[in-house]
Amino acid sequence: MKVIKIDKKDWAGGLGKLSDAYRLFGPVKDKDVSDFKELAAGELPDFDFLNTNLSAKSAVFPQNEVMFEYSLDESQEDHHIMKEPEKDYSPRAVIGIRPCDAAAFLLVKRNFDTPEYKDPYWIRAYEASTFVGLACNDPGKTCFCTTAGCGPFHEDGLDVLIADAGDHFLAKAITEKGEALLQAAGWGAEADGGQIETMKKAAEAKISSTVSTDSLKDKVTTELYDASFWEDTAFACLNCGTCTYVCPTCWCFDIQDENYGKAGIRMRNWDSCMYPLFTIHGSGHNPRGTKTQRVRQRFMHKLKYYVDKYGAGIQCVGCGRCVRLCPVNIDIREVCEFMNSYDPAATTCKAA
């Protein structure tokens, strides 16, 4: 598709026009930390960031989302009936999402949008969204996207890819949705697409961090499960939920009812497999009762179960957030290496 040149002086004006047709979301900086928020009228997304602390998943899958409302007031006709509250699914545009976060939506989609089960909240929000990606000219030291099925200029999952070329942006429309957005913003000056290719190569060359995932699919699940490295890997883990909350591909949630006198809501909140409460049974038994089991679950899910279930690579896009933000430096790149190179025969011999 075609490449458009956007002069930086036309940037704010174009976004202004967009805000008539779309709800705009973008990275906003608060006390040195960038995160995705809905932009206020006239507010510009702040592109001065390596990546946001939390991923952009909240634009489609908020940390707290109301599913139903109800009344317990028996004088009302519709008491004790769950009703879906009115929500705003008008078109929204996520401006400045990194290609890794956009690619993550495609991985998550395999869970939320299947032939058997469809998550209406996620799907409606996803379909209402146009993703305008900001290519990474300078990927970080913890970015390992190129070996995790993604890349600094990766296009899958995006509708538009924007690259910062100094005094102007180059915008590549990837889908019709994207083209419509560029039109709505009034950006139409066609440019040569070659420059994006050059920038892409330069950016990919800057990626210094890698993972090997080629052997994961051939490993025997039960052998990996019983591998001896889990205990050492999990030792430092605090079992906080940081890695799962910042991860663009973690999709688990918990459903809660909240009562306020005679009214209430049913909501869903992000949950984390790091918490004991995640799996505890009504009986009090917890099948995943220890820290080591929970840490193993997180990595096995991302790097083995997902690989086997969908046959489409790992459930990770290499954004590096969990590496950067883990309080005790548990590094998925290391764990992936352990798993990918795991040889049960070798460890048994050593132990004996």
Binding site: K87, Y260, A263, I265
Partner: protein, 144 residues
């Protein structure tokens, strides 16, 4: 604040003293405002900070905790432990921005019906002066 607003106070009373004092005040026909909802506990030492926060979160305008005078605890020393717990709790609550007059503590023996009435009036009036509680009140979550 509307004209006919009346403060709601949640009171946690020890069974062995203040609860009896309230009873005695009633039997003795002492008049006092009816703004408190009393929860009877075995000892002021049973009061967890979670109870007080829960009352405020559910929309109480004030909280009043009352137990036996030091030395008079039915369980010998429950109120001594409670005293330290309450001191730190009240300080932290004020430190986080809750008005000092929202949460009250007293020692009232079961014979002190008049003290009960005086403190009840004092508690209710000081909360009335503050107006409805807005802090630590849990409201309905916003629709995302």
């Amino acid at each position: 604040m509307s004209e006919d607003w009346e403060p709601k106070i949640v009171s946690f009373f020890c069974n062995w003293c203040t609860y009896g004092a309230a009873d005695l005040a009633g039997v003795s026909r002492f008049e006092h405002p009816a703004n408190t909802r009393v929860i009877r506990l075995p000892c002021s030492g049973r009061v967890s900070p979670k109870f007080i926060l829960a009352a405020l979160r559910e929309g109480a305008d004030g909280v009043w905790v009352s137990g036996c005078h030091p030395g008079d605890c039915h369980y010998i020393e429950g109120n001594y432990y409670a005293r330290r717990k309450f001191a730190l709790f009240k300080n932290l609550l004020e430190y986080m921005g809750v008005e000092p007059e929202r949460v009250h503590f007293s020692w009232i023996s079961s014979a002190e019906a008049t003290k009960y009435v005086d403190v009840a009036k004092e508690v209710i009036e000081s909360v009335r002066k503050l107006g409805p509680n807005t802090r630590f009140v849990k409201h309905k979550a916003k629709v995302a």
